[in-house]
């Protein structure tokens, strides 16, 4: 037995650890700079159809991962919260046009977060599949609400409304490059905040609830408040992602683009990428958004003309499904874990 206060401080913030965390920050900055330079080389197709949806899907996955991967509360309401964020931001742009865009996006997110707290109230009593069913109800109610009441879409005659112009400090952001940089900046900021959160007492509270909620309450962890905070932060992030999806990607606000299929897509992204992992969100989103595009191009190049296009599309879907199953068998904890294992093996080979 050791006396209190001896031999325990070593390793806490040691130089080795500090060096590694600086290396990580340097890598992140380099990655961000690289991504910010992409518009110099990429054409509009790449920005519009590939990178912008990939980044927004990553952000949505991050939002759901905080709730499901970290706090252990499963949800199929992501599409609904994206819709809340999109419609809230649209209405704020419309009714308070003098507000700067970042404030506007944040306010839209906060409104979505508050709706998330209401949708999360059942989690205080039920868990698992029952909670999934109750978030499914939230998804349907929200979708119905935006279709039913014209006020949300400013009594537009068509069910999809075109988004107002995007600008920050007079700089027009409606070009593909502008929308890409807006998305990238938002994703970068939210990611940094999310990493801070999951390493803080808040993140520890969430993971304690996820791993063993009865023990958590017995040792004095505020379980109910922790769950509702997870719903708030998660829906806030998903709401911002929804606003970007409408304004920076589609250019229209339409409840149909935030249906249950979208909720499933987000859930698959985090299951494939890795629950309870920040980097898993990007890997999972890349899988969900980029792989179908890749399969489409490869299929078109190899079989184009030889096979009926409808058939080809079905084949691609089947192959996509098979790949999901194959990856999950290889590594149930997700692609992020698979990649990190491969990286460790590679590194140890070089060290030898």
């Amino acid at each position: 037995m050791t006396a209190i206060g001896t031999d325990t401080i070593e390793g806490f913030g040691s130089t080795d650890e500090t060096a590694r965390s600086w290396l990580r920050i340097a890598l992140a900055v380099a990655l961000l700079a690289g991504l910010a330079a992409v518009p110099l080389v990429a054409n509009d197709y790449w920005l519009n159809a590939v990178l912008i949806p990939f980044l927004i899907m990553s952000l949505t996955a991050l939002g759901l991962n905080l709730l499901m991967g970290y706090a252990g509360q499963a949800s199929l309401g992501s599409g609904g919260f994206m819709a809340v964020g999109a419609y809230a931001t649209y209405n704020i742009l419309l009714r308070l046009p003098e507000l700067p865009l970042p404030v506007n996006l944040l306010l839209g997110g906060v409104i979505s977060g508050l709706v998330g707290v209401i949708a999360g109230l059942p989690s205080l009593r039920i868990k698992g599949f029952y909670l999934v069913a109750s978030t499914l109800a939230a998804q349907f109610v929200l979708e119905w609400l935006f279709n039913q009441y014209g006020w949300f879409s400013n009594y537009s005659t068509s069910s999809s409304i075109s988004a107002p112009r995007l600008a920050i400090l007079g700089h027009d952001l409606s070009s593909p490059t502008g929308r890409y940089l807006l998305t990238l900046a938002t994703v970068a900021i939210v990611t940094v905040v999310a990493i801070r959160l999951v390493r803080s007492q808040t993140g520890r509270t969430w993971m304690a609830i996820r791993d063993m909620d009865t023990a958590a309450s017995v040792i004095g962890i505020p379980v109910a408040a922790g769950k509702l905070k997870a719903f708030f932060v998660s829906s806030l992030v998903i709401g911002i992602a929804g606003a970007l999806w409408a304004f920076a990607y589609l250019g229209t606000v339409d409840a149909r683009s935030f249906n249950l299929d979208r909720s499933f897509q987000v859930m698959f992204a985090i299951i494939i990428g890795g629950m309870g992992s920040i980097s898993g969100n990007y890997v999972g989103a890349a899988f969900m958004i980029l792989l179908p595009i890749l399969l489409d191009h490869v299929g078109g190049a190899v079989f184009g003309g030889a096979i009926d296009p409808g058939q080809l599309e079905n084949l691609q879907k089947a192959l996509f499904g098979a790949l999901i199953v194959w990856f999950l068998i290889k590594e149930p904890r997700g692609l992020a874990a698979l990649l990190s294992r491969a990286w460790t093996q590679l590194a140890s080979r070089f060290e030898r």
Partner: protein
């Protein structure tokens, strides 16, 4: 003599008509190690669950540190200074030893979500202070070399010690240990006993523990309460209890 830290008066509990505890009364003095013994089903775990609010007594009352209650929420009990470990492994299994221990400090946190998100205000100083407290307990329980391991990858005996560390880090004035040595070999039991004793001495923590191994109980505790079918059949020093004929009939006489 100072007032007992814990007083139970006529506590009864039944599950679907079956009496688990029958008008049970006893005191636990401040600073002592009190062992609850008795055959399986005697109501020992139920009693711990009443003290920290997991169960509600049908009748009777519990006084802790001068505060009397019939029903207390577990979170409130934790805030009042009642710590506890679990009979079955109840650690946060995906978290490291350090994070499990830090989780035991969350109820002392005074920082908010916003401070955590942006690293503002007291967040940094609290994180440092909590890190120091956690590392102190980790060192105290000889867990330093397991500090960054995920708990589910550790041997059972070490996990039991992590559970103790998580309960102890918040400096409870009363510590409830539900079979802290279950499933351990003699060496591990001896080690665990010395940790419990050391915690009791260094932190002046009052301990109520459930244990089946009589040699451990007799060596460790100042005070023994014997339960049988929800009734108290013995209450005194280990020596007194050992000589009590009712206790011998109910418990010690049977082969284990």
């Amino acid at each position: 003599m100072a007032e007992p830290i814990l007083q139970l008066r006529d506590v009864s509990l039944s599950f679907k008509g079956i009496k688990a505890l029958n008008a049970l009364s006893f005191d636990v003095e401040r600073g002592e190690i009190c062992a609850l013994i008795g055959p399986n089903g005697a109501g020992k775990s139920s009693l711990l669950n009443i003290i920290n609010g997991v169960y509600r007594a049908d009748s009777g009352s519990v006084s802790f540190d001068g505060e009397r209650f019939v029903r207390i929420r577990p979170a409130r009990a934790a805030h009042l200074g009642i710590g506890r470990t679990f009979q079955h492994n109840a650690l946060f299994r995906h978290l490291s030893v350090l994070d499990n221990v830090l989780a035991g400090l969350i109820r002392h946190s005074r920082t908010t979500l916003i401070e955590h998100a942006f690293g503002l205000g007291r967040d940094r100083s609290e994180t440092r202070a909590f890190g120091r407290r956690a590392d102190e307990i980790i060192g105290f329980l000889d867990l330093a070399r397991h500090r960054d391991r995920v708990v589910s990858t550790l041997p059972y005996g070490v996990q039991k010690r992590v559970d103790l560390a998580r309960a102890l880090v918040g400096r409870p004035s009363l510590l409830l240990l539900d079979e802290p040595m279950a499933g351990m070999n003699q060496d591990e039991k001896r080690e665990m006993s010395s940790f419990v004793l050391e915690a009791n001495r260094s932190f002046r923590t009052t301990v109520v523990l459930i244990e089946h191994d009589m040699s451990v109980v007799m060596g460790l505790s100042h005070h023994v309460v014997v339960l049988d079918y929800g009734r108290k059949v013995g209450d005194g020093t280990p020596e007194e209890v050992r000589r009590n004929p009712d206790v011998i009939a109910a418990y010690l006489g049977t082969v284990h």
